[in-house]
Amino acid sequence: MADKVLMKGNEAIAEAAITAGCRFYFGYPITPQTEIAAYMAKRMPKIGGTFLQAESEIAAINMVYGVASAGKRVMTSSSSPGISLKGEGISYMAGSDLPGLIVNVQRGGPGLGGIQPSQSDYFQATRGGGHGDYHLIVLAPASVQEMADLTIKGFELADKYRMMTMILADGTMGQMMEPVSLDFDIKPEPEKPWATTGTQMKRPHNIINSLSLVPEELEQQNFRRYEKYAEIEKNEVMYEEYMMDDAQIAIAAFGIAARVSKNAVNEARSKGIKAGMIRPITLWPFPKEPFMKAAEHVKQFISVELSMGQMIEDVQLAEQCRRPVTLCKRAGGMIPSPEMVLAAIEEAAENGGAL
């Protein structure tokens, strides 16, 4: 592992973005993700890129809108309250079919909330977050390596589908250091003939726009966008299964909750309980299939979350309520301990007769 470097998750995102060819970063300081901005401020000027501290989150996302319109790879990052401010711009980017990467290193809410890790922006991320019918591709890293890998993947998916990708991380993922390999295979960026780069008097003018006052036309646009979303649901789902082959109790968890739960699953197995875990890596599209399949042998699902219970709804939808799904949660910046998750597994094993 000597070729690996120790990096904070936030720094890994920044470095991976640069590797992916992103030369434009706009942001506004907010804990616990400011390392991304600091990293970009240091690196971008040295590689001919642009780092700009915007006057607000709103301005930052609109600068992203501008660069995306010009057809270049671009990103912004923030934490929960700042993402709410970006909601307007995100919706406009969805309505204008613009690609870009947005990072949310979540903290406890609502309101100003706290600065400790949270997963309580799950609904906001997976249901869109701004107004209107749309989705973001939402990626949930569970290690510093994945913070980097999914950043690269995020840019590729954004360009492939002309839409925004969100990295939904949390304060722990952003702040922790782990060894990371930065040796990536970067695919060439696709052509963007739709971009507003000037007609050069050689083509009709391009328009980037989300306004459509004729409802029949706006409906068709929405239909087309959802056909694209259906393609993504078919092609881009990512998840990890851990000890699921014979599992009778299945944890559903992403990000830091999955890291904690892995300890609990190992501990349960050492006690003879057949526990396993499904870890969604794409939160949208949500990996329905492994849950449906698991429902055949799993007696109970436990959704482990740093929220009052948000992903649990997707788990129930995915396995179509064939097995009970319970919630193991902490909120407001608290993190469930492996002991707490283990206790939930043991309780499920007793009640469900899973042993």
Partner: protein, 250 residues
Amino acid sequence: MIVFERPHALIDVPLHYCPGCTHGIVHRLVAEVIDELGIEGNTIGIAPVGCSVMAYDYFNCDMIEAAHGRAPAVATGVKRADPSKFVFTYQGDGDLASIGMAETVHAAARNENISIVFINNAIYGMTGGQMAPTSLPGQVTQTSPYGRDPKLCGYPIKVCEMLSQVDGAEYLERVAVNNVRNIRNAKKAIKKAFQNQLDGKGFSLVEVLSSCPTNWGLTPQNALKWIDEKMIPYYPLGVYKDRSAEEAAK
């Protein structure tokens, strides 16, 4: 001999503006300047939210429709993505001086090398005549039915005067389009603002006092008179900042 023709930068479609509205005049001035500078193929225009929201259908250059008030931030992104492009925004008073005030002031503070055409008609037109940040004291609108009372809702914002205090701004001029002489001056100012960008001088804004006969409840002629009698006394015309000229004079 051709004495009058449509500028190439303006698409030959009917505009949606009300009879007597001066948006059409300002669109034409912008298009003429784009033609004269020969920059159409390299230009990206940014439309606001407001009456000119559909300007993207009228200009022949590449166009972007921005969220309400955010055009200067979008322009910042476009310009930074490729500084060799020519980038202008076209914004109304609600867009620029109310919801987009922060974006406006900070683009000026950064001396972003962009050009802004700012239409001040002292009212929200598209939504049907509500009070604007630039509505005059005493002005009756749908949301100031007893006249704008400064004690209740403050004073109008004088954008050129305010931005002239921002070190970053390069060029600020207020013009009007209510008579031939003023229209000629308006075109000169727009051309200078655009040329400044081509010369790399930075943030240039032209405030254009415009009429809104429909929402002012006046005939087109009386609306033009209202600009002379009410608006210009409150918003004096002239150059509020010309950094390059000031530096050259030193």
